[in-house]
Symmetry: C2
Subunit: 217 residues, 2 copies
DNA sequence: TATTAAATTTAGACAAGCCTAAATTTTTTG
DNA sequence: CAAAAAATTTAGGCTTGTCTAAATTTAATA
């Protein structure tokens, strides 16, 4: 099995490689892991030795099949724990990331499998992100950004692209929660902000910074 | 805050100092931590520097007030997680120790407090051991050993002194679970084994190795 | 009580992960 | 396309927690 730290690197390499596809750079990893590039280089050599990444010096890095499977196992655990924290313990969706970051490294197949059943085998986490399968594959869900929805369309909020507590709290204060139906009534040609109706009475303007980070279908 | 390893030492020092009261020896700690005496010596110096233990070289070790409070915080987390694993995830009481051993080091006051509420603020863990208070004190519960119960008395099984999976599984197979009422009908003068009645129809002989490790009231 | 045995501590080393500073490679730009 | 800038890697070190071997202290015994 792999160390706590190795698991973190795999998870982060996975996240970065889907975000900006192609090879992941050392500097990007240094920023995400809150370490220095030199430390990342050390770890990359180690992960390459273990056949978890494809690594050509100076050329960036990519997960091997096995590396991706391992990364998805960690992400599965992370997201299941987030569901637990929100659904069972009543945490807000803006509070769970750091705690799940620790829980995800608890190594027990049995624990994960029982937790999954206890939670009713959820398909997405509290931010709408899909939960990888036990086999280690990431379900692909097609969503549009709210910023791509046209006037008159009615859609349901299904997820977020930005996970910072600040953004999530902003959504809470705006009443824009997951599962919430919104109808686009106007798009400002000036700043691309969007007027949405949440219900018969309630409507609000949503800035384009927000609409670009809201996933709907 | 203290490291994963330091927390483990505190927890184990607490356990050993209640078991055989007085100072805890280096060798006993080495056995419990599955390390060597030399490693324990190193750690004791560190814990003493942090004022978590009273330590006189060659003389054994004892927790300070602060050390005991920290130890009890870890034990509280451990036992709450054990309740979760058994009550919510359906693990057997013989399966939860190692997993709780990892979960106990997750550091979030909020998490522990919400978990406690979610579980209904249990007073004991699945083995009948009391759960320390949030303030860091250990509730004292007075139990007798089944081996000290006289013929004719009816008592309820409340806990175990031995926590090995083997022992717990043996109890499962015998039908001796927590909360179970047993009536002592005979004590063998030969080997001190005890005949107990679980219900009208069911009775069995319990060896003295078992009765000495069963707590009742 | 002197001496051996057991327990404990110290000394010196090692692996994991991190760091800074220096060297190297790649990319950008004048 | 050569020089400067940026990105990356290497070299050498540090900390935590571990180890073995040797030294020291305490306990046991003849």
């Amino acid at each position: 099995m792999h160390s706590f730290t190795e698991e973190n690197y795999l998870k982060i390499i996975y996240a970065l490689s889907t975000r900006q596809n192609g090879e992941v750079t050392t500097n990007a990893l240094a920023e995400m892991t809150a370490t220095k590039a030199a430390s990342v280089s050390d770890m990359l050599r180690k992960l390459a030795d273990k056949q978890l990444i494809h690594y050509r010096k100076y050329q960036g890095v990519r997960l091997t099949e096995e590396g991706e499977r391992q990364a998805l196992r960690v992400i599965r655990r992370h997201r299941l724990w987030e569901v637990f924290l929100v659904e069972k313990l009543g945490f807000g969706w803006d509070q769970v990331h750091d705690i799940a970051e620790e829980l995800e490294h608890i190594r027990s197949e049995e624990l994960v499998s029982r937790l999954d059943i206890f939670l009713g085998s959820p398909k997405v986490d509290p931010h709408g992100d899909p939960i990888p399968t036990p086999a280690g594959t990431m379900p692909q869900i097609e969503y549009r950004k709210l910023s791509d929805v046209g006037v008159g369309e009615e859609v349901t909020i299904m997820g977020v692209l930005e996970h910072s507590p600040e953004f999530l709290q902003h959504l809470d204060r705006s009443g824009l929660t997951l599962g919430c139906a919104v109808k686009v009534s106007e798009i400002s040609s000036f700043d691309k902000s969007v007027q949405v109706h949440l219900s018969a009475e309630k409507s609000l303007f949503v800035s384009c910074e927000v609409t670009r980070n809201l996933l709907v279908n």
